[in-house]
Symmetry: C2
Subunit: 229 residues, 2 copies
């Protein structure tokens, strides 16, 4: 999929950014890059007369059967949220906080962040090849390259796992970066303003207690460990 073939972001009213349009990101390639970087999604599903929002692992596939790419979620076939979400219109939101913005008034305090909101009708993935591929992508989203190092899933494991696809078509992205935007009189009053950057940091890998003796930490894990700040 080439960048020139990408559908513009915000194609519908329900994913149009309302307040803070200056923070809207209109670039699908930027959205894809961000979704590849996020770790956890928040899935909103309507249950009866109210929404429920649950954190969940995810992955995206820009070459999947959905025209603008697919966002995959998985879970136990016994999970209530999956039973509610199958075929329903859901909202999947991925957010990373990038900084705390200390302004000179309460009003102008803010956070720096990137966030993608995807709204769409879920498709329960039934095709065995697509299911397996989606599950591999979810593993590799966490630890790139790991799925190829694992034994194949058993029939029993696959039967216990439900996979949902949400089309990446209806989506929007917002981002804020930089320091505070204060009233000039407030900046002149002498309160320190600025940004406190926030980053995700990975610690040293902790081996499982039942690891065989002599195993070294594999590249899929070590590649994640980088200096924090």
């Amino acid at each position: 999929m080439t960048t020139s073939a990408l559908t513009p972001l915000e194609p519908t009213a329900r994913t149009r950014v309302g307040r803070g349009r200056n923070r809207a990101v209109g670039d699908r390639a930027a959205m894809h890059a961000f979704l590849a970087e996020g770790l956890v999604a928040h899935l909103g599903v309507t249950v009866g007369d109210h929404p429920i929002v649950l954190p969940t692992a995810y992955a995206i596939d820009l070459d999947g059967p959905d025209a603008d790419g697919s966002l995959y979620l998985h879970g136990s076939v016994a999970a209530r949220w999956l039973q509610q979400a199958g075929g329903a219109t859901v909202c999947v939101t991925v957010t990373e906080v990038d900084g705390l913005v200390a302004a000179r008034s309460a009003f102008h305090h803010s956070m720096n962040y990137r966030s993608v909101v995807v709204i769409g009708a879920t498709r329960v993935v039934e095709d065995a090849m697509e299911r397996q591929h989606a599950l591999d992508l979810i593993i590799d989203h966490m630890l790139p390259g790991r799925s190829a190092t694992l034994r194949p899933s058993t029939r029993k494991e696959l039967a216990a796992t439900a996979v949902l696809a949400v089309p990446l078509r209806e989506a929007s992205m917002k981002a804020r970066a930089g320091g505070p935007v204060d009233e000039p009189a407030d900046a002149a009053a002498g309160v320190w303003g600025g940004e406190l950057p926030v980053r995700r940091a990975f610690g040293s890998p902790v081996p499982a207690e039942d690891n065989l003796a002599g195993l070294t930490v594999p590249p899929d894990v070590t590649a994640r460990v980088r200096p924090a700040v």
Copy 2:
């Protein structure tokens, strides 16, 4: 509020943890401590026939007018989500990812995390004192102690800001910690398993370009900066 007076968690069917009951945390004090530590909430609101999930700052007040404490959200009075959320039943979820769990099969891969789900009917906060207090709490949640260093909000700023309270009564908390739980045969097959810890790290404060000369970084900001790993 003393710990002994806390209402037990999970008082209703809609906040009862379904799958993974072994990960349920039944302790309100643990929930309060976690909510004090989280940075961002994901708010789920029903809009028409589907949910929308948006990231937002928040704060909690265990001594507020709601019996089991209040979770406060704020936003522009012009924001669509606030217009939808006023008086409606919403879901507020706060999640922190604590680690990636590398198992020896795809099936047993997991994340370590803490997550709180609150469901409740929102109350639009009209009382001027409660509104001001809630807004101070949201600032101090980001940067503890900062609100006391700022000028009072103007009437215009307060009029432009909506504050919502969600009672902390209907809530549940889940947490996973530790290494992978694999089938013994998989652990014996020689793939490295373990946990990759994930932490939030704060970088060095970046002063605003319009800071007066000679200002030092205040304690509300420096207190946030700790070694990452």
